[in-house]
Amino acid sequence: MPGRTSVVDKAKVFIVSYSSIFQIGDSHYIYKLSRALAVQREAEIFFGDEGNFAAFQTFTRPISPPPIDEPISIAHHHLSPIIKVNNINIIGISSASMLNIGNSHHVAMEARIKHIRQLLPTGHEQDIG
């Protein structure tokens, strides 16, 4: 099933970081995984070798996609062979993300984020109700 052709006049992207992709063209299979352990500390203390993904269930628990338990027949009729976009303006593409201009067959992307906040005890007793 040949897809349509994507025509983009102007694409402006400032930042592509942390294993992100700006792809122009077709692909068959895309798989991207991003794991983040976000620690917010009230004081700037860095221990350097912190963070063990295996220690948290967030990063080890399997994510099972919903099962497709119904026969589906899909038919596409591309009466217009062009997908037209004039301008694309993106400031940032980060942490295993993607801008894809073109076709693909299978796309699977996964993000796992654990957020931890560490506050100082002094001066915070009254906040805890």
Partner: protein, 60 residues
Amino acid sequence: MIFEVYNRNLCVDNINITGVASSSMVFVGDTDTIQLASIFDTPPESLIIGPFVPLAPEVR
């Protein structure tokens, strides 16, 4: 289920996006399957008030 699609003209003038982050995707084109999954975990016990205890050391 029978799913039949007739694609006619598809023209977009401007796409302005501030950020695409954590395994997200901006896709201009056709595809068969897209499967996006994410886990964001910030349970109550992840708010730690007290002296800073370093997390488990990195496993190399």
